[in-house]
């Protein structure tokens, strides 16, 4: 029996002057297998000055993401981040295929499983009948072959679950943790 697919959803947010991140691993039903978050990291004024504009990317990619990945017991099959993070030039860990998923307003493709490539790193994927296709954007580090393999996994997971929804759960969980801490 094949190993069930695991999807990792990563999100890092800034709350006030602090940064914190969360990593949710789900199965193909969207059921949470593991969820970890970092305690808020508040850079000092000196660190903010010394790091400058690279502070936020460094914190998200080098500190928060690596810390959370280190804590994972099993490696995820896909590492999903928000479109905004990916558009900002994500250069994090390339051990897993890094991609972003987003609901689109495009017309449904002809059949389930069909893809429409909008660019070398971007494609539309039809997951269910009649619905708008899913927009998938890969990180620059993901080559074409890995992209094809990732699409197959997305198809399998998308049959059972909403691939975009878990990211909303991570955001909600982080928000609740921030409120609880403050």
């Amino acid at each position: 029996m094949a190993e069930p697919i695991k999807l990792a959803y990563f999100m890092a947010v800034k709350e006030g002057a602090s940064y914190l991140g969360g990593l949710l691993v789900t199965d193909t039903s969207g059921i949470p297998l593991d969820f970890r978050y970092t305690e808020p990291i508040t850079p000092t004024r000196l660190q903010s000055i010394l790091y400058g504009k690279s502070l936020e990317p460094h914190l998200k990619e080098e500190v928060i993401q690596k810390t959370l990945l280190k804590e994972l017991k099993t490696a995820p099959d896909l590492f999903i981040i928000s479109v905004t993070e990916l558009a900002g030039g994500w250069s994090g860990d390339a051990k897993y295929p890094v991609l972003a998923v987003q609901k689109s307003q495009e017309s449904p493709l002809a059949k389930v499983g069909e893809t429409f490539r909008a660019g070398p790193r971007e494609l539309l994927l039809q997951l269910t009948d009649g619905s708008a296709p899913l927009r998938v954007v890969f990180a620059a580090s993901v080559d074409a072959i890995t992209q094809e393999q990732a699409v197959l996994k997305l198809l399998e997971a998308g049959y059972h679950m909403d691939l975009v929804e878990p990211m909303e759960r991570v955001a909600a969980a982080l928000q609740s943790l921030v409120v609880k801490d403050s």
Binding site: S29, G30, Y37, T38, E39, Y159, A172, A173
Partner: protein, 261 residues
């Protein structure tokens, strides 16, 4: 009467004509009239004193307080000087008598030693050289402090409990894509499980749920999914097909787990 006056007037006229006949007439170019303004000096009033009465001034003669004693002229002394040398030089010779050396009258004279080193006078002394002093206490090097800009590693916290508090949406599987034999098997199990006539049941969907640990379940008909709230036991529990149906006659929801072959 009028005739005389007339004659007198004629005579006067003739007299005047003759008087002015032959006068040389010189045409003079009239100078342009220039108005010159001359400022007048203001009258000054000079004050002069009047005659002053004679003033009698009293003057005092001060006596000499320190008398200076004057010296009277001293008489110039006169000396009669004689010079007989020249005369003797030319007239006579002086005989010198040498005293013979006598024994015991000789005196021993100690000759002082010559100085070994001549003393140079008038030597210009060299200028004084500044003395070099060494500062014993050097400037202390500033102490360097290290402020570590390293952001360190974040601390990961296990937050599964917080995540399980959120509802998990489970999407219904497409029954049409199931093998027909499998769906018939599921239907049979549903009828057995609910005890309801299959014709009176409307299937809402087939979901894959954990067998254990489902704390709450809500149906979301708008999106064809169910929202479940899970407990920790659900994570490791195996998934099983779960059928949600509605009774056609009264709309009651029915559900049951079915077994995979």
């Amino acid at each position: 009467m009028f005739g005389r006056v007339k004659d007198a007037m004629a005579d006067a006229t003739e007299t005047l004509r003759r008087a002015f006949t032959g006068l040389k007439v010189t045409q003079v170019t009239p100078e342009p009239f220039l108005s010159k303004s001359h400022g007048s000096v203001a009258l000054a009033v000079e004050q002069r004193p009047g005659l002053e009465p004679p003033v009698t001034m009293r003057r005092e003669m001060s006596l000499l307080k320190e008398a200076v004693q004057g010296q009277t002229l001293q008489p110039f002394p006169c000396h009669l000087m004689q010079e007989a040398g020249w005369a003797k030089w030319g007239a006579e010779a002086e005989v010198l008598h040498m005293t013979p050396l006598e024994k015991g009258r000789a005196a021993r004279i100690t000759v002082p030693p010559l100085p070994r080193k001549a003393r140079v006078l008038g030597r210009v002394e060299p200028p004084l050289r500044p003395s070099v002093r060494r500062i014993a206490d050097p400037v202390q090097a500033p102490a360097a402090r290290r402020l570590d800009p390293d952001l360190g590693e974040g601390c990961a916290v296990e937050g599964q409990e917080a995540m399980l508090s959120l509802a998990v949406p489970i999407r219904a599987e497409d029954i049409q894509r199931l093998p027909k034999g499998l769906w018939m098997r599921y239907s049979l199990q549903m009828v057995r499980g609910t005890g309801e006539n299959v014709r009176n049941l409307e299937v809402m969907g087939l979901f894959r749920l954990p067998r254990k640990g489902v704390a709450d379940l809500r149906h979301d008909p708008a999106q064809g999914r169910i929202l479940v709230r899970l407990e920790a036991a659900a994570i490791k529990s195996p998934r099983a097909p779960f059928i949600l149906a509605r009774r056609k006659d009264d709309g009651t929801l029915l559900s049951c787990f079915v077994e995979d072959p």
